[in-house]
Amino acid sequence: MMTPSWILDILAAVMLLVAAISAGRLVAARPRAGSTGDADIDIAHLLMGIAMAGMLVASLITLPNGWWDAIFAVLTVWFGWRVYRESRGQGARVLADGHHMPHLVHSAAMLYMFVALNATAVGSGGGMSGMGGSSSATQTLRAPVVAFIFILWLAAYVVLDLDRLSGPGHGHGSYFVRPALVGATAGTGSVSLAASAVSAGTSAGVPAGQDQPADSSHPAGEGLPATGRRSASARALLLSPRAAAGCRIAMGVTMAFMLVIMI
């Protein structure tokens, strides 16, 4: 008997939701003049969401495993470089407090899952998507101790994310900082939007996306038609640190679950 398929279906649906939110964030925060944004993180979340949904439910496979190997290898190298850049300013603190460190761990864990599944299991099960099907009994990971380390690491980031989100002044510190503001000058529309996204939901007692201005020219959506206000609120909510952290928490739990189930 395998893990009940409805559990895998639920997790796959959650991963597709994460992918959709990440796609929405990319659209809502599309780079404008002078703004680099957190596009790499949102792209990573989008790709991970799609890949994990395919691993959980066979009918959701989108790309061959080899392609995913390459994609997550590139993402791992990219976030490795970003962490290295961060560490020059923060030192070893970047391991616990770095903005890009969780994404490096997530990318590396995905790469590990795709690469480490042994050739027999991959051949017999139609790729890792067979996790929910009849082949899961034959699936075993190479170097399971690495999987165990990843599980602990992922769990630690889930817990840290929740602690920061629920603590006073959540959303602050380099951990949640959106480099959308990097190099930007205050006063432009795009900067105001990104800045409001950073602060959305960070002021005590203010629900994300409700009272935060989505545009400096329209504080709290004032002067905008009702649809415009709703749109501005939705964008602020989508770009809030809570949305990004929620995606990361969901992916961390799901990834840890998948690693355990593959051991």
Partner: protein, 334 residues
């Protein structure tokens, strides 16, 4: 609103007054870090509980196995529970796993930490009885090397010691004493480690091949390197059961009284506790058999390490205040 400017890859933050001071995010203190570590272990338990094996009748058989050797009054409810799980394996295991997931997330969330810790105590006590047969302490099979007195009871103990209350914070010499006070915390430590020393000397554990067989038995299904470690350790301990048990009991006894010793000696015994717990976790418990599949938790070694860290001596708040006052006086004099 928070504006961030980054120059040359180095971030410089500029916070406005509206979000600064009291509302700014602060790094967690020692006790909060330990609570988060406990949450990580609960999360690990939750994902382990979602393993395929747990949805099979094998899980019910595992539960039923813990009834063996226990008094009737303890064994009967375990058998009833195992029977229930056998007939509703998918539903009940999903509930069990989800409860553990909620405990982990609840401890990690600051507003729900009290509720989650309280719930974790109740859950842990239930699992200790229905899932671990009271850690085999009543059937003479308990050994510190195989997880006695039951890993899950240490979760409950940690929840008590890490309770977010500061009734004794001013005089607490270590994080575990902040909620219950140093005398109670030390007594709990003495009882736990003292009982481990007692279990080490039980007849079943001091037999010539007892420890060796126990460790060798953990090699099955483990990765090659871990199985080799276990087999090597088992061969070293072959026919050395009595001597190994005595050495183990002495070390455990020393650790038990260590928290009553002066600070430097207490630290030394805590280091011994951490090292011994790590040795037990690796050789005796094979990381809770997680790498072999089918484990429900990381077993006691990891939790004993976490417990030892909660007793690590720190400067008390009172001492810190005195030091700060002295520094202030010196500054004024200068």
């Amino acid at each position: 609103m928070s504006d961030i400017a980054v120059v040359g890859g180095q971030a410089a933050r500029r916070d406005s007054a509206s979000v600064a001071t009291a509302d700014s995010w602060r790094p967690p203190d020692t006790r909060r870090v330990l609570q988060l570590a406990l949450a990580v272990i609960w999360l690990l338990d939750a994902v382990l509980q979602y393993q395929s094996f747990m949805f099979t009748k094998g899980f019910a058989q595992m539960l039923a196995g813990t009834a063996s050797g226990n008094p009737r009054v303890i064994a009967s409810p375990i058998n009833w529970d195992a029977n229930l799980v056998q007939h509703h394996a998918v539903l009940l295991n999903t509930v069990f796993a989800t409860i553990q997931l909620l405990l982990a997330l609840g401890i990690a969330c600051r507003p729900t930490v009290r509720v989650a810790l309280a719930a974790s105590i109740g859950w842990a006590l239930g699992v200790w009885w229905f899932g671990e047969g009271l850690g085999e302490v009543l059937n003479s099979a308990a050994s510190p090397v195989n997880g006695a007195p039951g890993a899950v009871i240490i979760y409950a103990l940690l929840a008590v010691l890490l309770w977010p209350s500061d009734r004794h914070a001013a005089t607490a010499p270590f994080a575990a004493a902040r909620a219950v006070g140093a005398p109670v915390a030390r007594a709990l430590w003495l009882v736990l480690w003292g009982s481990l020393a007692y279990f080490a000397l039980m007849p079943g554990n001091r037999a010539p091949q007892a420890l060796s067989s126990m460790i060798a038995g953990m090699a099955s299904g483990e990765p090659g390197w871990l199985a080799a470690l276990d087999n090597h350790a088992a061969s070293l301990l072959a026919h050395q059961g009595l001597a190994a048990s005595v050495v183990l009991a002495v070390a455990l006894g020393l650790i038990a009284v260590g928290v009553y010793l002066p600070r430097s000696a207490a630290r030394a015994t805590l280091v011994l506790a951490i090292v011994l717990a790590a040795v037990i976790w690796i050789f005796g418990e094979a990381f809770g058999a997680i790498l072999a599949g089918g484990a429900t938790d990381p077993n006691s070694g990891l939790l004993l390490i976490l417990l030892a860290v909660t007793y690590w001596p720190t400067r008390t708040a009172a001492a810190a205040a005195v030091a700060a006052e002295r520094a202030g006086a010196e500054e004024a004099t200068a």
